[in-house]
Assembly symmetry: C2
Homo-oligomer: 219 residues x 2
């Protein structure tokens, strides 16, 4: 609780416990989005009762978790910029993967569940970003024109989630996941697979970071 009219400052560990609860929720809800607060509290090493000392209710906790996560993703993706729409879209896909990878399940819930509306608000700018890229790509002929922009944009978004979901059940190295996210995005917007692979390999911006300092990678 925030003490508004008292003489003494709030205890430091209160804020820490609050963070513990959020961290615990991130872990637990990422395993099972319907887990009870009992489970979350246990993971945080606290009692269920004390959850209510930090959050009004379950929804409030989830809301905060999703909000901060979505903001983090939004600001990360917002920074992507590149003159070529195809590259830009691939960069967005790649960065999305890297940001969300460790919170896949919650991300899916945030976008699909009852907070979808709220999440959509936060991600609104990104959505616009994606739509702009697709629209430009359709205009310059680098992306498919046989599906309307809006629908294509949604399919691109959903496909990103599919890669996330599949990789949850069938793990993938971060690097492979990153590439798969780009490949599937390019596939949906219309590139043939050879073109997509060549495209990614031709753009240094799309290369996996590790390989720069260490070019002689085995396997």
């Amino acid at each position: 609780m925030i003490a508004t009219t008292s003489r003494r400052a709030p205890r430091r560990d209160s804020a820490e416990n609050r963070e513990s609860l959020l961290a615990a929720a991130r872990v637990v809800f990422n395993r099972d989005p319907n887990a009870s607060l009992e489970t979350v509290a246990a993971q945080a090493g606290l009692s269920r009762r004390s959850v209510y000392g930090h959050f009004a209710n379950r929804d409030d906790l989830l809301l905060e978790l999703v909000t901060t996560g979505a903001r983090r993703v939004a600001s990360a993706l917002q920074s992507v910029s590149h003159p070529d729409p195809l590259t830009r879209l691939a960069l967005i896909a790649s960065k999305l993967w890297r940001e969300v990878e460790s919170v896949r399940v919650i991300a899916v819930v945030a976008v699909r569940g009852s907070l979808a509306h709220h999440t959509a608000d936060i991600l609104g700018a990104i959505r616009f970003h994606v739509r702009t890229a697709i629209s430009e790509g359709q205009a310059d002929g680098s992306m498919r024109r046989d599906v309307p922009t809006e629908r294509l944009a949604r399919l691109v978004e959903e496909t990103a989630l599919v890669v996330l979901e599949d990789s949850t059940e069938h793990p993938l190295s971060a690097r492979d996941g990153d590439r798969l996210a780009m490949l599937m995005t390019l596939a949906i917007v219309g590139l043939g697979w050879r073109d997509a692979d060549a495209f990614i390999d031709s753009k240094p911006e799309l290369a996996w970071p590790e390989s720069q300092p260490n070019p002689g990678l085995r396997h």
Copy 2:
């Protein structure tokens, strides 16, 4: 209930009511998979109590619904056969769309929810069918080789669901949905969009039925 040791035959309307309940469940659960039995019974024009006269419990009802649906789909898709793996895959996508279109939400639940294992059993043969087509396609060079067969197969399956989900929120004519399902499938397995469109248009098997008897179709 089935009377095993009685003198008189079961009333005819019992079977009818059972069907009503299944039909109601199909409608209601397709709107909200978590709807209560109260809602289902109301839709069927019966009382909640009488549901238990036909089904042991909620799960039992859902199980029967999903089982018969999955069997229907399985037998429909099983009949698809074509020497060319790409055409075969497109045909499967198309037929899947047509079979599932009106039961999209339940289909998604059946595949993703707690009955996933059970559904997977029924659809096992289809899954194998899809994997075979993809494997052949990869071998003959018509499908992408940069993603392992198993993963590509799952992505194809998931993509089919994405089209179903998107069309639930943003309706599509049956014809457009059918084509979109094929296009997205072909995209995932590696075709560029122009190739995919040309491919579909070049194969009479993949044409929309209506246009055959009535070639002069406006708009």
